[in-house]
């Protein structure tokens, strides 16, 4: 040990975090991380938020990261602390969320010994993270922490675990500044201009163009959303978003066709099916989006911008791959489109828009709300009112969701004009994500309106976080669309398993109003349509955390729906639509 090492590993760790700009850590203490908690206690630069379950710490960090664009930081103890965090890590991996998760570990000399609260954390989290480290020498500590942040936020973002044996954080260690360049990991961010030129040539020739933009545009930062909007306005091309991309293009813009995919709009899916040029940006051709692959956008020439080479040609072969940051590539496309004097096919585009408008005319998201006193609340209507009332109040609104039908209805009926306002678990589909994620957002934006649109089943998966809300006085609003069913699963059972509702009814739900009360929050309930607005307003006016229990129609299904394995033009529309149940046979005919 060198004489000039004056700080403990824990102090070095916190110094590295500070130099990385960390302001908040979400965590939960335990034996292996006690020295780190001791160091935290003795400083003021970094705030620690004590969650009630390690999974929630990770989701909270995800909410924080997604809403701010910063790296979220988690601190958990060894063994059960680390294993509890795994679901959150996989969630962040699937949705490309930058996180650094610090896990305690037994002292180096005990590793492999089945010591108390030992788990092979790097082994368990290897496939659950973008990368992970076990720090075995104090000399490596600061370098590894800096590298972890670099890896988490560079290229395709993702979660990184740093496993910290207890002796490493106790013993003295040297500090190191962040390195200038990483030896092997240097993802490409600048687009190849030759590919950009090819892309513009395809775009200029297009008669039926389509832009399909995903979460990667949000990862690339607000400037990428601006560039996308500029490109769309300049070209006049229609735009659709994935679930993860919502907000990267303004939903109120007339060129926006809504979300695509399994529960996407009629117009977005048919435009995907019928287009002759598809520009995919920061989207990964997920199976919820493509439907049956051999029928996916069959007539289009495809351009794909993605920062991760492994996303390109993974599911769908593309003609012009562009490996680059979405923001940089979109800016290059804007410049190249302007510089090119090749004409674009304006008459064809106009007739394509006429076609799209007839699809739009179908109003595939429509539903009928019985407005009579005592009328049962349609879940879609509840979201629509939540959207309208929050918009009228013109406060910055952040929405998180749990997983299920309510999530899809939120995606369909709540509209986002800006990126980073919509936090949902898309890739892993983790029930229990929404409440802790909302917590993380509220920490980042103490004055904003943060709402978790929840299902009554999902909310119970991390309900303990109501305690965290109380401790830090976080006024998160939990808006439960209570159908007493695991609605999404029940819907599949109805449609695919002969309405045999096996184990999807929650027979002993808590009284959510009393539950809110016991957690020092405010509980409220709307049981019929005439009570809805008052409850929403009361919820938004309430200075504390709220659980609003909205009793909604139990029988409602989420439409449109492309059943797994079906094509975009084999969409199923809701009962509002005459031809529902027979598939959309006119869709093929409607294609130009």
């Amino acid at each position: 040990m060198s004489a000039e090492w004056t700080q403990s590993g824990a102090e070095i760790l916190l110094r590295a975090l500070k130099d990385q700009g960390v302001e908040v850590i979400f965590g939960y203490p335990g034996g292996a991380v006690l020295p780190i908690y001791d160091a935290l206690f003795q400083q003021n630069a970094i705030r620690h938020i004590l969650v009630r379950h390690e999974q929630a710490a990770v989701h909270a960090a995800e909410g924080y990261a997604r809403s701010t664009g910063k790296v979220g930081v988690v601190l958990v103890t060894s063994g059960p602390g680390a294993t509890n965090a795994v679901t959150g890590l996989v969630d962040a991996l699937m949705d490309s969320i930058p996180l650094v998760c610090l896990t305690g570990q037994v002292p180096t000399h005990l590793i492999g010994n089945d010591a108390f609260q030992e788990a092979d954390t790097t082994g368990i989290t290897r496939p659950a993270t973008k990368h992970n480290y076990l720090v075995k020498r104090g000399e490596d500590l600061a370098r590894v922490v800096h590298e972890a942040f670099y890896v988490a936020r560079s290229g395709r973002p993702g979660p990184v675990v740093v496993d910290l044996p207890k002796d490493i954080v106790i013993n003295k260690a040297p500090y190191a500044e962040p390195a200038v360049q990483h030896a092997s990991y240097r993802p490409r961010t600048e687009p190849d201009l030759g590919q950009i030129a090819k892309a513009v040539a395809l775009m200029k020739q297009a008669k039926r163009p389509m832009i399909y933009a995903g979460g990667g545009v949000i990862n690339a930062g607000p400037a990428a959303s601006d560039a996308l909007t500029r490109l769309a306005r300049m070209t006049g091309f229609p735009v659709t978003n994935t679930l993860m991309g919502l907000g990267c293009y303004p939903a109120s813009d007339p060129q926006f066709l809504g979300m695509l995919g399994m529960h996407g709009t009629y117009e977005a899916n048919l435009a995907m099916h019928g287009c002759d040029m598809l520009l995919a940006v920061g989207a990964r051709f997920d199976d919820r989006v493509t439907g049956r692959l051999n029928a996916f956008s069959p007539d289009s020439r495809k351009i794909h911008i993605d920062i991760d080479g492994s996303s390109i040609n993974k599911n769908v072969p593309v003609e012009v791959p562009i490996i680059a940051d979405a923001g940089k590539a979109l800016a290059a496309l804007v410049a190249a489109w302007q510089a090119s004097d090749a004409p674009s096919d304006k008459p064809a585009l106009a007739s394509w828009w006429r076609q799209i408008d007839t699809w739009r005319g179908k109003d595939s998201l429509k539903f009928t709300q019985n407005m009579a006193r005592g009328g049962i609340i349609k879940p879609q209507y509840a979201i629509q009112r939540l959207f309208e009332i929050t918009r009228a109040r013109s406060k910055d609104v952040f929405i998180t969701t749990e997983v299920g039908q309510h999530q899809m209805w939120a995606a369909q009926h709540f509209h986002f004009d800006k990126p980073n306002r919509w936090m949902t678990s898309g890739g892993l589909g983790t029930m229990g994500y929404g409440l802790p994620a909302a917590m993380g957002v509220q920490i980042a934006y103490p004055d904003a309106c943060v709402i978790d649109i929840a299902g009554e089943a999902s909310i119970l998966m991390n309900i303990q976080e109501m305690g965290t809300l109380a401790q830090y006085r976080l006024p998160v609003k939990v808006f439960i669309l209570n159908n007493q069913y695991m609605g999404m699963v029940r819907q599949w059972q109805e449609l695919l398993h002969g309405s045999r509702y096996s184990e999807t009814y929650s027979a002993a739900l808590p009284d959510f109003v009393k539950l809110a009360d016991s957690f020092h929050a405010t509980g409220m309930r709307a049981q019929s349509v005439d009570e809805l607005d008052a409850v929403i307003n009361a919820m938004l006016d309430c200075p504390t955390a709220v659980i609003a229990d909205i009793a909604v129609d139990q029988a409602e299904n989420c439409f449109p729906m492309i059943p797994s394995g079906a094509a975009h033009n084999e969409m199923l529309l809701g009962p509002e639509h005459e031809e529902s149940g027979a598939g959309i046979t006119d869709a093929g005919m409607a294609l130009v």
Binding site: H497, G498, Q554, G565
Partner: protein
Amino acid sequence: MPALPMQAWRWSDRCCLLPILTRQGMTPPRPDHTFPRTLVYPMLSPTDTTPRSATISVLVDNESGVLARVIGLFSGRGYNIDSLTVAPVDAAGLHSRINVVTSGTSMVIEQIKAQLDRLVPVHRVADLTMDGPHVARELALIKVIGTGERRVEAMRIADTFRAHVVDTTLGSFVFELTGATDKIDAFIELMRDLGLAEVSRSGIAALARGSRVI
């Protein structure tokens, strides 16, 4: 058992413990032919289906866990490993070279390379099969037990294959053979009738021909 707490909701008559039967006049979509009865997670049907073999070389940081990462990637994503070798390749022992022989459709091979390339400790990935001619060799130790005519015949065949005898007793040989995989396969096949007892193979080491390096 105590009764479950009932909620005093006005619509509690609708919250029956049975599945929803009344659909408020709404006809649910019929589950039959309108729904392709496929898996919830449809099998991907790649466009080209003919698999090819690929020898991929990967230059990695020589750090603990790196091999686990590479192997985990193959097993986790369902790729084949037909052969795998790994050893440090510079004097300081900072870098290792991993050679993997795998097989799959060209889309899968491209995906494997892209997946390898994005691992943090990976410096370079090269598809030796695609990038031009290459040499691929492996070493095998082959134990043959036998006496008399069979022993003589084994020795004769070993000579033609240029196998070396690296251990011998009156009743056994250990042959050392280097070469392409099919040559080693052929030799082992011939030894089968001559007392083949045990085989140990190194797996493939490979380099591009000419002056190209990865």
